[in-house]
């Protein structure tokens, strides 16, 4: 899966995340942060919201996030979708990962082709996205 980088501001600026999937399947989203020491922190999840949306949630302060990796995972269940549409739903799956509070301000990342795959003959789709936090070395 392709990883992405979100540049942090120096100091105590708070970085926030919002996840917005677009799919006619039943979607679940979970966001976790893996810190440099290996600690795993829960950031947020979509609960029983079948749209899979994680509303804007704080990830942490810039000073605490350096070299951490934000990992968002999605599972989509296509029980409510006719089988002949499963491939189409997979091909047209869109997930927007919105981050703000960083050096470049609000930034959207999108699910890439190699981030997602079909499971169990296409009835389920999974997607994983890893976003690294770094300080921009360029002035």
């Amino acid at each position: 899966m392709a990883s992405r980088v979100y540049f942090l501001k120096k100091g105590q600026a708070v970085v926030s995340l919002e996840v917005t999937p677009t799919s006619i399947g039943i979607v679940s989203s979970v966001a976790k942060l893996k810190k440099t020491g290996g600690t795993i922190v829960d950031i947020g999840d979509s609960g029983n919201d079948a749209t899979g949306k994680i509303p804007l949630v704080p990830v942490g302060k810039s000073s605490d996030l350096l070299s951490s990796v934000l990992v968002i995972t999605n599972i989509i269940d296509l029980t409510a979708v006719p089988k002949n549409q499963w491939k189409q739903v997979f091909d047209t799956l869109r997930i927007t990962y919105h981050l703000e509070g960083g050096a470049d301000g609000p930034q959207d990342f999108n699910v890439d082709t190699d981030d997602k795959s079909q499971l169990m003959e296409g009835k389920f789709i999974i997607a994983t996205k890893a976003i690294k936090f770094e300080i921009n070395a360029m002035p």
Binding site: T73, I75, T79
Partner: protein
Amino acid sequence: MQCLNKYKSVLFFLCVATTMKSSAQNLELKDLNVPNSPAFTILDFSPKVIDRPGTAKAFTASIVNLVTQEGGNGIPKNFALEVAPYWLFKNNLTVYRYLGIDPNTKKQNNIFSNSRNASVSVGSVYKDSTKKLPFSANYFAFGARVNCIRVVRGNITEPIVETVKGIAGRLTTINKAASDTCLKKVADPTKPEFKTCFEKEVTDRIKKDDDLAKLEKRLENLLAIKPAFQVDVALAGSMTFRDNSIGEHHHHRSGVWTTLEFNLPLTNTKDIEKMIENKNYLSIYGKVRYIDEDSTTNYQTFATHKLLDFGGRFEFEFDKFSVSFESIHRVNRTKKELNSNRNVGILQYKIRDDLYLSGTFGKNFGTVNNLVALLGLNWGFGKQSLIE
């Protein structure tokens, strides 16, 4: 295997033979059902392979393939293409908008939501000259079908929303556990190994999750409950191209169909659990079809037939078995003396989704040779049984 294939072929021709027409008056076209693929129905054929491109790119590739088939001369021969245009492009639908249900009020908020599945079909059948029709021609057709209105039973929308939420909740539990496991197992989550781990963990957990399986089954059963009311419309038109020449064309046949359907479950409709278990329905259909055909035996002179069929069907369905009575009045707008009726009883048993055993008995259109007595197997043709 050869014997089975031969047997299938015999059954195939038995079924097809009952639907072939010899004149517009004896027009069969699978009684009045709104056809799944109007273009193929107006041509009176069930293609073995239907190209169904699911993306705009695939659709473009299919069209390019067709256009270049004849080297750019003439109409492509013997092809079948069907596409649902709405789904070729990106959309902003969520599961609730797709189902036409508001998750807050838990009521249906869009009776037109199924119209997104409207489909367009295009096809052609090339027929070489025969004694009966001494000219070769390519019959080209296009059609469209839409489920315009679908009104679900009021008391199933809330259980649907609750079940969908339940499934989402189970997925989140699985998601959290799988993500935790893989973040611990895989040192660097940016590497492909993390995704591979997540795929395996999710698959293993879903297979063991009985609660998820029960909720999915419940959702399937809720969505399978027949709507209280729905309306389908289809239209199709076809042209004949003699010797597959674009200049030598003539109108062949065109038609429009509409069906109104009312369904009443034969159970206590206030008890949702009984509704879910119920497989028995009383259905009433109102149907109208208009067909306009120019028939010919020599491609020099054409006889025009304009037929208006209207009628209804009364059907009892008991799980896999159904019994119905259909009455259709045909108005021949070209020759009023040919007005007639068709009154048939139909028995059908569903062996499986693509295999039906059916018998049709009664009086067909016309005044001679109008006894209908058919018994046969409908085997996976166009995914449509004699009764829909």
